[in-house]
Symmetry: C2
Subunit: 336 residues, 2 copies
């Protein structure tokens, strides 16, 4: 079946004049956040639940690639599934703001055209990645925020939910623990917090039968966030970048560092201008640039040749990959 569909994709590509890369392997890499994820803190049942959630996203995203679908559609499918899974900090299961609500961010980028879409601070759109995609495809803008973004979502008929849809008991407990840890002083913008309160994002990068790359990222942001804080997930170049001439990257980590160091686009720039591999560029940025300054987190990467990789400087990152040349693999800890 795979061969037939590849042939069909090739025919379709040739008939439209697009140069098909018939020998490009298909591939999909996903992540569900990086941080202090340690065996001692996860029960075997919890571990299994994370593996199951990652595998479902991998398999359903990859099915789209196998059927000749685009890397964009595959990345969106994988991220939508992770958004719908309450275990991950995006969509259902998003962390709580200081005011005990949820404000969601997402972004998407098409490596073939460098088109991009992003939304920040939305609170009633069930799947923020679908809204980011609508911003990319049905608006002349790249980034919409807050109530304006929700107005656009309503115009486009996206599924809207009450903010309480995103509630989960374990995230509410996390907010209460965080508030207790900060004592009587409410979170202030100058307080440096445990980096683990600042992390948790989902993302996907993919390469399709046309050799096109795509990246998608979605998050609930940081526990207890205030001040309309925007992290790296909706910032094109920080939490997300895709360019067929280099690579596609989705990031997760301490967002402020990922913005300042332009993590996603710097990895692509190193591939493009230094001629290094995407894996080498990712390792350099994550391990040699970010780690020494305290920028914790990780990235998933796919390059134009279809190499699938990741790099992270935390004890764990929920992650998985699958491709033409490799079966589905899911992993959690650094030594997995």
């Amino acid at each position: 079946m795979r061969k037939t569909l590849m042939a069909a994709a090739l025919t379709s590509a040739l008939s439209t004049g697009v140069a098909a890369a018939a020998d490009t392997p298909l591939g999909l890499v996903i992540h569900g956040g990086a941080g202090t994820i340690e065996r001692a803190n996860l029960s075997p049942e919890q571990e299994q639940a994370y593996h199951d959630g990652l595998r479902l996203a991998l398999e359903q995203g990859y099915a789209i690639l196998q059927a000749g679908g685009s890397s964009l559609d595959a990345a969106i499918k994988a991220v939508t599934i992770l958004e719908d899974n309450p275990l991950f900090n995006a969509g259902k299961g998003a962390v709580y703001t200081w005011d005990e609500r949820h404000e969601l961010d997402a972004s998407i980028m098409d490596g073939a055209t460098l088109n991009a879409g992003a939304v920040a601070g939305v609170s009633t759109v069930k799947n923020p990645i679908l809204l980011a995609h609508k911003v990319m495809t049905e608006s002349v803008h790249v980034m919409l925020s807050g109530a304006g973004a929700e107005h656009f979502a309503a115009e486009k008929g996206l599924e809207q939910v009450d903010n309480s849809y995103f509630n989960t008991e374990f995230r509410y407990e996390a907010l209460k623990r965080m508030k207790a840890a900060e004592g009587a002083v409410p979170h202030q913008a100058a307080v440096v917090r445990d980096p683990n309160w600042q992390m948790g994002t989902v993302g996907a990068v993919a390469i399709d039968s046309q050799g096109n790359l795509a990246a998608a990222t979605s998050t609930g942001g940081m526990t207890g966030k205030r001040y309309g804080r925007i992290g790296d997930a909706p910032i094109i170049g920080a939490g997300n970048y895709a360019d067929n001439s280099s690579c596609a990257v989705s990031a997760t980590g301490h967002g402020e560092y990922f913005i300042r160091y332009q993590v996603a686009s710097d990895i692509c720039a190193r591939v493009k201008y230094q001629g290094v591999s995407a894996k080498a560029a990712a390792d350099t940025v994550i391990q040699d640039v970010l780690l020494p300054v305290g920028g914790t987190g990780g990235v998933i990467v796919v390059d134009a040749k279809g190499e699938l990789s990741w790099s992270f400087n935390t004890p764990g990152m929920y992650r998985g990959k699958i491709g033409s040349n490799q079966p589905a693999l899911t992993a959690i800890f650094a030594d997995d």
Copy 2:
């Protein structure tokens, strides 16, 4: 006087163990927006008013550098003066949103530390660049937005004004013309508009006696904007980047392209990884990358050696520069 102050700065630098670059020329470059700026549309009096506004910002910013002050303080001073000048689309004189209000964005970056601060969608802070600076220096965050950013501004005691402070008659007329041009159909996110409605930003880049670079950018955004649209001005890497190891850039133009093409950080990446000059990198990105895809606008740049330059692909850009080796120069049209 200059020599005495340089000597004082040198002594101070040596006493604190900072390596002073005593032979680095001081420099400041500013812009007040790029677009279809043509002689036929400006009276001699208007031309003079723009030159005067640019010169005031240059001189007051440069005085800080001459007194041994930092590139950050010089850039902030220049941008504050442009924000206060109603001729430019930032602070007082900001364009109107579709709802006949003003929503302001700004960002700042310190090339010595890669610290950065940005605000999006603020409506009651008199000088948004001062708020971006507070975000950089007095919060652990990089980017704050909307009401949350204003709450932070109030906590920090920044001057706040009623939104009507930003009103100007000529910007209101521009909104009415824009609405009339769009006919009975209100602005929709899918409507491609005259690029000139999307431009207008102010910015400054500087190098100080320590050889430190800084970039600052501020804007009222695009005339008639809706949907909480965020442009490139507050996006670190798009409208603003500064890194002592390469260059400092402030951009102005059709923001969506500047985000997708990572204009500011791509110029710095080319300097860093390709070894080209900042001027050459800026020309490549503005003329060879952006222009062919319709991305209109420009940038101002200063590199680590103190070379001051700009590049733009529009008929004009309000701009000026001054440095140790060059007297103040202000210009408007491409052939100035």
